[in-house]
């Protein structure tokens, strides 16, 4: 457990009438720094929140944005919703897989990228849409894989 987590937990709990509501804000805050939620982190969060480790795990496993495996330095989401699919999202995903030598759901060997599919990202006017670290980058045409990979986004 990092020393500052105690403070973060207290801050989150103070925000809500019932402390349990602080769980997800705390998970978000820790994951933003750690990149993912390891078994050890889940245990730490359970201790900080005064709930069981199973409870934290049940919440973490419900939501797709909580990572229970290590992720790359940059997490790429490719929207594969219908509007993006009509604009070539599947070909974009295919090209990214070839370029990064991984399959969807995997992380490159050098730890640079994790490639994930996203359900509709609510940006259908700019299809095909992607996100890097949850920041919108798009539209990205299937042939513009390098534009996406080289894109700078605020941390």
């Amino acid at each position: 457990m990092k020393p500052e987590w105690q403070e973060w937990a207290s801050q989150a709990k103070a925000e809500f009438p019932q402390a349990n509501s602080a769980l997800m804000p705390l998970m978000h805050r820790i994951q933003l720094v750690e990149g993912w939620l390891s078994d050890e982190t889940i245990q730490d969060i359970a201790d900080l929140m005064g709930v069981t480790v199973q409870y934290v795990e049940s919440v973490a496993s419900f939501y797709s944005l909580f990572h229970r495996e290590p992720v790359g330095k940059r997490v790429i989401h490719v929207c594969v919703g219908l509007s993006c699919a009509l604009a070539g999202s599947d070909e974009l995903m295919h090209n990214l897989e070839k370029r990064l030598h991984i399959k969807e759901g995997q992380t490159t060997a050098d730890g640079a990228y994790t490639l994930l599919e996203a359900e509709c990202l609510a940006a259908c006017d700019k299809a095909p849409m992607t996100q890097i670290d949850l920041r919108f980058v798009g539209p990205i045409r299937p042939e513009d894989v390098d534009t996406l990979l080289n894109k700078e986004v605020p941390s």
Binding site: Y63, L82, A122
Partner: protein, 429 residues
Amino acid sequence: MTQHYLLRNRDVQDIDQFDVYEANGGYAAMKQAFETFKPEELVAMVKKSGLRGRGGAGFPTGMKWGFLPKDGRSRYLVVNSDEAEPGTFKDRELIEENPHQLIEGIIISSYATEASEAYIYCRGEFRRGAEQLKRAVKEAYDHGYLGTNILGTGFSLELKVYRGAGAYICGEESALLESLEGKRGNPRLKPPFPAVAGLYGGPTVVNNVETICNLPPLVTYGAEWYTSMGTDKSPGLKIMSVSGRVKRPGNYEIPLGTPLRTLIEEYAGGLLPGHTVKAVIPGGSSVPLLMPDQLDTPLDYESIVKAGSMLGSGGCIVLDEQVCIVGATARLVKFYREESCGKCTPCREGTYWMTDVLDRVEMGKGEPRDLEVLADVADNIAGKCFCPLGDASLGVLVSALKHFRHEFEAHVAEHTCPMGARLYDTVNH
């Protein structure tokens, strides 16, 4: 160019900044509400305006507010910003580009419903949206528009931004409340409805972002202004998100009752050159298809139901003659498979089964009986699920089987996609 009332960010540059928002009339409606309305008068005004929930269900907002029991318990207002219905992207624009408008709407709505605590449940994927909201909320606090005894009125309001973490089901109001309480986003049994037992068991109003964004102009211009637009039962303005095979995809603010054809041809610039409409999903991925001979359907709640579909969230996806209906349907049903919370069997298993069959048919590996299997599974989901998600997975599928049965049959008979769809083994597995 017509004036925008909800999408004012289109007319005023940098309106997401506090100073710009206020210099352009921002927070004047809030002050006017405090000065000229008692809370119950505001509720009456919203009832009179006929404003209906813009998240998808179209339930009258004033009536929803009126369900709050008058038992002295403290009330909560929760704003649903968990926009994730495929084809819908209006709330994202509203919170990213004009967060103060939403905050002003929240203050007015909380004053009307006598809520002392409000939450914005912001979709986890909206990182910038959450940042914009958090900054704007802080600015509103700094200017005394949030907090204790706002502008000396005696009315106090605490507003917090809460981030989801990737779960479409949390757009369902009771699942959203579970999530806000730090739990898995499984829907609750209703009744009791949130008005009686919502957040932390207290009386709670859950409203969509666009609904709440109607409040500042409603206070400024009045209920009569609102009912002067649209139809008797569907008055006012609606933001339609248009995407798919059109020239100018985007959000368009229209008076309700505007024909679908006008939205597609005039607002969205028509189809891509040389193409024709095959079908339209008019109100988000959960609603049945409308056919080319129905393009003159007025976009209001009643007319679309009469035409066999729903206005829903206003996510309008336009499909042209090149689009494979089987592939499009497979993609949408797969969405519901991914997003089913797994709590009840028909939805959890049914969406898996239907996706499997649809993929098989799309890849040319279907059998004649697969069409019967699809219809049978759909029938075993319809009306048999704990929450609306299961039924939502059927809207496009059932109407596609009805209108495009020949296309499904051709996939099976020809052992390939007759539309020549390029298939990749990347997505869907």
